[in-house]
Amino acid sequence: MMNVLVFVGINTILAVALNLLLGYAGQISLGHAAFFGLGAYISGVLTVTYGLNSWISMFIAATATGILAFILGFPILKLKGHYLAMATLGFGIIVYIVFNETVALTGGPSGLSGIPNLGIASLTFDSDIKNYYLVWLFALISIFLSLNLADSRIGRALRAIHDSEVAARGMGVNVRLLKVQIFALSALLSAVAGSLYAHTMTFISPASFGFNFSVELVTMVIIGGLGSIYGSFLGAALLTLLPEILRAFQDYDIIVYGLLLILMTMFMPGGLVRGVPGILLSLRPARKQGREY
């Protein structure tokens, strides 16, 4: 169970990161698993092959992925809607294939093993319980930073882009640069999650970073609730725990999973964060009106 909670933590970081891009700026990415994978592989290769310190590797992985996303962001974020979806998807698949094909570097489809744990002085994060605390420390920091960002001039400008790009530009918001910056930040956070994943699992293989996982991340954000940081946590928790619960269905789990996805989107279009607490929902407008008049 601890093991699963570690995954919930990692997926929370990823969902929060993607939500900044998708929920706030309104820009879709169907290739975020690639940034997660880049974080994991850069960290893994630097420690295993080059014997670098784990923390330093994590730092390099995050920075390098962030810079790559920044450069890539300029041509990619010029695209809109389904063209953007397709381009990010394509990028994700290319990276996935590179993980598989550069066998000498990544170990190819059979994966990269023996990645060292993270550690501070004599403390090594080598058990599920220790990793649980480590990962959740990072997850809480991500949530904290994202909440701050959302509630600032940057967060407002992002939401403005989402609502009306033309009006946002008219307000002097440098839409293009801001989109690219948030894309890079989102990729950087995803790479941190990837690095954490590599150092807690000590084994990585391309299968964890494919198209399906990119889709799963988008699903977490939408099911949780677009533009809600807490929603991302709920979405990540639900979609990570669900397969564990569905294990009772054995081979049928994928069917139940697909069905739940459809039904939840149909009946809770605003996501868990707006759909589940029906009580909250009915309270909120009432309170708002009270303030207005």
Binding site: Y83, A87, I97, D251, G258, I262
Partner: protein, 294 residues
């Protein structure tokens, strides 16, 4: 084989895979144009086509042609059922939510296929023998000709339907302007229903003609669906020649790249081409020709 013979060979096989991508891409474009939805379940109809034909031939022991007809029919039924149950009730949903629903449907259909037919890979018999035909040094299988021929036929029917039948014209009207179409009395809901029927039928045809060459299993729909999506994007999401050319361009370049550079990177090559095209011409390369014609 010398280099030029090899190149001819690659182009020939690229043409056939390209045809398949075109058919799948057309399915994407038709649904997109009538509803604005990117149907991520499109690839699953390709899978259904192949798997159902296999099922009818080996389990039910039907003759090939009958099996094919049944496969197309059932795939189409699945397509329209999906539209009825999950798309029609949600007319006001955001595009993103609709995308998630189609992703959910694709997972569901794939899961059901796995449950019914297992995880094994199956192959279909060639439509007419395995004896290769030699064309100026390159070899080509009768199945290649079947693929090219049937694709051509489907494209012609598609064209005739969209330009010479009332419901086809109504569908084009919907794709230009949905609200205006409904104002002149076109039943937009019906057109959406039709677009799902046509797309799923086309997808299954693609799956059926490709299966004898490429094998089929419960999960072939993912990559084929994405390649079809690529074709449609390159073609500027047109439900006509743009997407067909997009698919063929993709197939040929991918085949040349895989043959001359590295087969491991075959799928990567397809997506690199896609990215380059999107970066240089974000609206797709065949978009211009389309709008001028209209």
């Amino acid at each position: 084989m010398n280099l030029s013979q090899q190149v001819i060979q690659y182009i020939l096989s690229g043409l056939t895979t390209g045809s398949i991508y075109s058919l799948i891409g057309l399915g994407f474009a038709i649904i997109f144009n009538s509803t604005g939805i990117i149907n991520f379940a499109q690839g699953e109809f390709v899978m259904l086509g192949g798997m159902l034909t296999f099922f009818f031939i080996t389990v039910v022991k039907l003759p090939l042609l009958v099996a094919i007809l049944f496969a197309i029919l059932i795939s189409t039924l699945v397509g329209v059922t999906f539209e009825r149950l999950a798309i029609r009730p949600l007319r006001k949903a955001t595009p993103l939510n609709l995308v998630i629903i189609t992703i959910g449907a694709s997972i569901l259909i794939r899961g059901l296929a796995m449950m019914i037919w297992g995880k094994d890979t199956h192959s279909l018999p060639m439509f007419s023998g395995n004896d290769p035909i030699f064309v100026s040094g390159a070899t080509i299988l009768p199945q290649h000709l079947w693929i090219l021929g049937i694709t051509l036929l489907v494209i012609i029917i598609n064209k005739l339907y969209f330009y010479h039948s009332i419901s086809g014209k109504a569908m084009r009207a919907c794709s230009y302007n949905r609200s205006a179409a409904s104002l002149v009395g076109i039943d937009v809901k019906r057109m959406v229903f039709f677009s799902f029927a046509i797309s799923s039928a086309m997808g299954s045809v693609a799956g059926i003609i490709a299966a004898p060459l490429t094998m089929t299993s419960y999960d072939v729909g993912i990559m084929l669906g994405l390649k079809g999506f690529c074709a449609a994007i390159i073609g500027g999401m047109s439900s006509g020649m743009g997407t067909v050319l997009g698919g063929i361009l993709l197939g040929v370049l991918e085949s040349l790249g895989a043959g001359l550079i590295s087969s491991g990177y075959k799928d990567a090559i397809a997506f690199i081409i896609l990215l380059l095209i999107l970066f240089i011409r974000p609206q797709g390369i065949f978009r211009k020709a389309e709008t001028e014609r209209v």
